[in-house]
Amino acid sequence: MRARWRAAGLAVSTVALLPAAWSVIVAMPSFGEHVSPYGAAVNAVVPAARHVSNMVAAVNFDLRGLDTLGEESMLLCAVTGTVVLLRGARGEETSGSAIRLPGRAIAQRSDATILICRFAATLLFFFGVYVALHGLVTPGGGFQGGVVIASALLLLYLGEGYAHWRSIVRGRVLSVLEGAGALLFVLVGLIPLAFGKAAFQNILPLGTFRDLYAGGTMVVVNAAVACAVAGGFTLILLEFMEETRAPETETEPGEGG
């Protein structure tokens, strides 16, 4: 179908959607005046019930823990899919060591770059850990901290160069980290069942309000999410970086085929 027909079809559907969309937009509650009972109840009940001050983290890790477990499984799924898609095509054996693309000049890194990157990478790494740790008290949390840790590990590449970076950041360790984070989260769901309580029940002592380690199992879930996200995103970035150095020889396309 030629592009003209597609644009025409899209225009027709937009014109047909306009009246219905406008009636929905007008019927929506006016911006900023609407208070939803669910949110108001969370703000009222949860600080006292779970001694935690970050309501978003409380909703994420305790009230609606199952959504976050689904989210972690999605990350597990995407990481496994990306690894299969990218590493599978290159063949299993080459992923261990860093491949060099012949003919690509190795940019000589100046000492200033190496120093600044080492300093910035460690600082960023500890900032990621800080954001993950303070997830239940101030804005932040396992997910944001994990992604900051992943970007810190990538910053190492800028300073150390590809071969050395691959020796520091191992694919196998990352997949274990990813699996361990997800498994820990599932165990947090399973163990209360053994005690006859509901799944994901907060069985650990809740600690004092506004304290760093308040919130019982929420601290464990926060750590599990941080590990899974850090391992997952680093593995995705690592596989993509490996892709930019595909070897000359054409490997057999994947083992599934």
Partner: protein, 588 residues
């Protein structure tokens, strides 16, 4: 401890835990342990969900996660936590899906040996997502499982890393991701309107006249679920995704994932909009027409295919049209018929995709014309394919025939029964034609299927034939079970569910007679006639014969052009479909 409601989360936590453990230990596992673990987990889940269905028949089992029961919110109009509710239909459908996964794991034994259990990890996440999708009673949780189901399916479709499977996966991802974004917009609108995400509270808030927000929210949710259920005009992605996915994955796609879309729509209509007059009017009067058009279009396109997996994909689209009609009946026996149809169709389509997998493994192709007469050595597979084709053609035995009969009786529309007869005859006839060509070597010039898209593909071939045929025959035997074992159970389950959502269903009119009326042989007879017609077709020689042949292939050529394979066309058709639904609502 043995109270089933407290064990309910195991249905989801078990596969997720198994997947995480397999990923973590993937480098140190002995070769076949991943296959074994996955098979055991899915069989365990099939039994567990069957037990839940049995226990949840009269009183649905409810499990509030993290202990946030309704009382803990301190306000009657708020539910702080997420709940799983195992009513009999949801648990029965989950048991069917777990069984299909177990059969697929046995069929794919040793299929992927060089990889570190990645296939089993993705399939277990897929299974967990489908069971969670059936069980949850929270709208955003339903979206999370819908999305996890999609992402696992995306990765599995692109698994063989062939050019066509990657392009098929791209079409699949773009169309389904747009559908899930629109579902999230629908959830945002419904959250603004009702202030909660729990099905029961939303139903209370939307009782009577839900207003434009309920209609808009339903439109966007229906758009996403109809895309997943591959209903015309949202169905284009399905044939590309199924034809290129590995066959054990196609077994799950056609057998389980597509019907989950229809089942999700059923649960949303029953759970959230039972008392919203505008939505119920649309579902009861508008949706059957979508189903009828899908059945007819799917049947016709399936008739004009030569690539077996593409043919099975279009036959899935056709039969999902009938399932959608079952959803739209909104009466206990109509819904019982729909559940029976999902079961029967899932089992038969799973078995047929396994046969396509066997052909791929043995002959590196599943193209009907290329495999002409080469299947004689594999006569057991041919026999199974013949039985499957006859069952799809509504042969008067087994689950599918009974289900189709019950749905016809429940809706009673003349157009619907014609569409059901036509689509079953066309899909059954196409499969009989393919079976005759591959296994019996009957000749016959290819008609409209000559110009259908096809491809030479390769699947791992050193797997023993008995290991591949065993699950296929098991599924066919289950599909041949007399329906009167399951039907009363499903009928009571559907009745309890409808009364629970106080839909006060119409009085239960009697079940259709079980006698073998002569009309029962109309559809299979038509299917056999169509197959014979194409087998005995002579090469058009005379001027009139050539003109007739060209006239005959004209509609099919239009269908081939329509299913162009371009994702940009597909998205445009989806936008048109969404505006069609919105117009029907707006003009009412």
């Amino acid at each position: 401890m043995t109270d089933p409601a407290s064990l309910l989360p195991l249905a989801v936590l078990l596969p997720l835990g198994a997947a995480a453990a397999l990923l973590m230990l993937s480098h140190w596992l002995p070769p076949r342990s991943a296959d074994l673990a996955a098979t055991i987990v899915s069989l365990l889940l099939a039994l567990f969900c069957g037990w839940l269905a049995w226990r949840g028949l009269n009183q649905p089992l409810i499990h509030w996660f993290a202990g946030w029961t309704p009382a803990s919110a301190g306000r009657p109009d708020v539910r702080l936590g997420i709940s799983f509710v195992a009513d009999a239909p949801s648990a029965a459908v989950s048991a069917l899906y777990a069984l299909l996964f177990a059969a697929s794991f046995v069929f794919s034994w040793g299929y992927f040996d060089k990889v570190h259990a990645h296939f089993q990890v993705l399939m277990l996440l897929f299974l967990a997502a489908m069971i969670g999708f059936c069980m949850t009673r929270d709208l955003f949780n339903l979206f999370v499982w819908f999305e996890l189901m999609s992402i696992a399916a995306f990765a599995l479709t692109a698994y063989p890393l062939r050019e066509s499977s990657l392009e098929g996966a791209l079409n699949f991802i773009v169309t389904n991701t747009i559908a899930s974004f629109s579902m999230l917009m629908g959830i945002g609108i419904l959250y603004a309107r009702t202030g909660t995400l729990d099905f029961a509270l939303m139903a209370q808030a939307l009782a009577g006249h839900g207003g434009a927000l309920a209609a808009g929210g339903f439109c966007l949710l229906a758009f996403a679920l109809l895309t997943k259920a591959a209903i015309v005009p949202f169905h284009f992605w399905l044939s590309d995704a199924h034809a290129v996915a590995p066959s054990p994955v196609s077994v799950i796609f056609s057998g389980a994932m597509v019907s989950a879309g229809c089942f999700g729509l059923f649960k949303i209509v029953i759970g959230i909009f039972p008392l919203d007059r505008a939505v119920i009017a649309f579902v009861h009067d508008g949706l059957p027409w979508f189903g009828i058009v899908t059945a007819i279009l799917g049947g016709l396109t399936a008739w004009a295919q030569r690539h077996l997996k593409r043919l099975l994909a279009f036959s899935t689209i056709a039969h999902l049209g009938i399932v959608l009609v079952g959803v739209a009946t909104l009466t206990p026996e109509g819904e019982a018929g729909m559940l029976l149809y999902i079961g029967g169709h899932g089992l038969i389509k799973g078995a047929l995709f396994m046969i396509a997998g066997i052909l791929l493994a043995r002959f590196n192709s599943c193209d009907e014309i290329a495999l002409y007469g080469r299947g004689r050595a594999l006569w057991p597979a041919g026999l199974a394919m013949g039985v499957g084709a006859l069952l799809l053609a509504n042969a008067p035995v087994g689950l599918l025939y009974r289900a189709g009969d019950v749905i016809d009786n429940a809706l009673g529309w003349r157009a619907e029964s014609i569409a059901a007869v036509l689509s079953s005859a066309l899909t059954g006839g196409a499969l009989l034609r393919a079976a005759a060509r591959i296994f019996l070597g009957c000749s016959g010039a290819p008609g409209p299927e000559r110009s259908a898209p096809t491809e030479r593909e390769r699947e791992k071939s050193d797997r023993p034939l008995w290991l591949m045929l065993l699950p296929c025959c098991l599924l066919l035997v289950l599909a041949l079970l007399p329906a009167n074992l399951l039907e009363p159970f499903l009928r009571r389950a559907a009745r309890n569910l409808l009364t629970a959502s106080n839909m006060h269903p119409a009085v239960m009119n009697g079940a259709p007679p079980d006698a073998l009326t002569p009309s029962a042989f109309l559809t299979p007879g038509l299917a056999v006639a169509l197959a014979l017609l194409s087998i005995l077709r002579l090469r058009p020689v005379g001027r009139f014969a050539r003109f007739a042949a060209r006239l005959e292939t004209l509609p099919f050529r239009v269908l081939h052009i329509l299913h162009s394979g371009l994702v940009t066309d597909y998205v445009m058709w989806m936008a048109l479909g969404l505006s069609a639904i919105a117009m029907v609502f707006y003009l009412r």
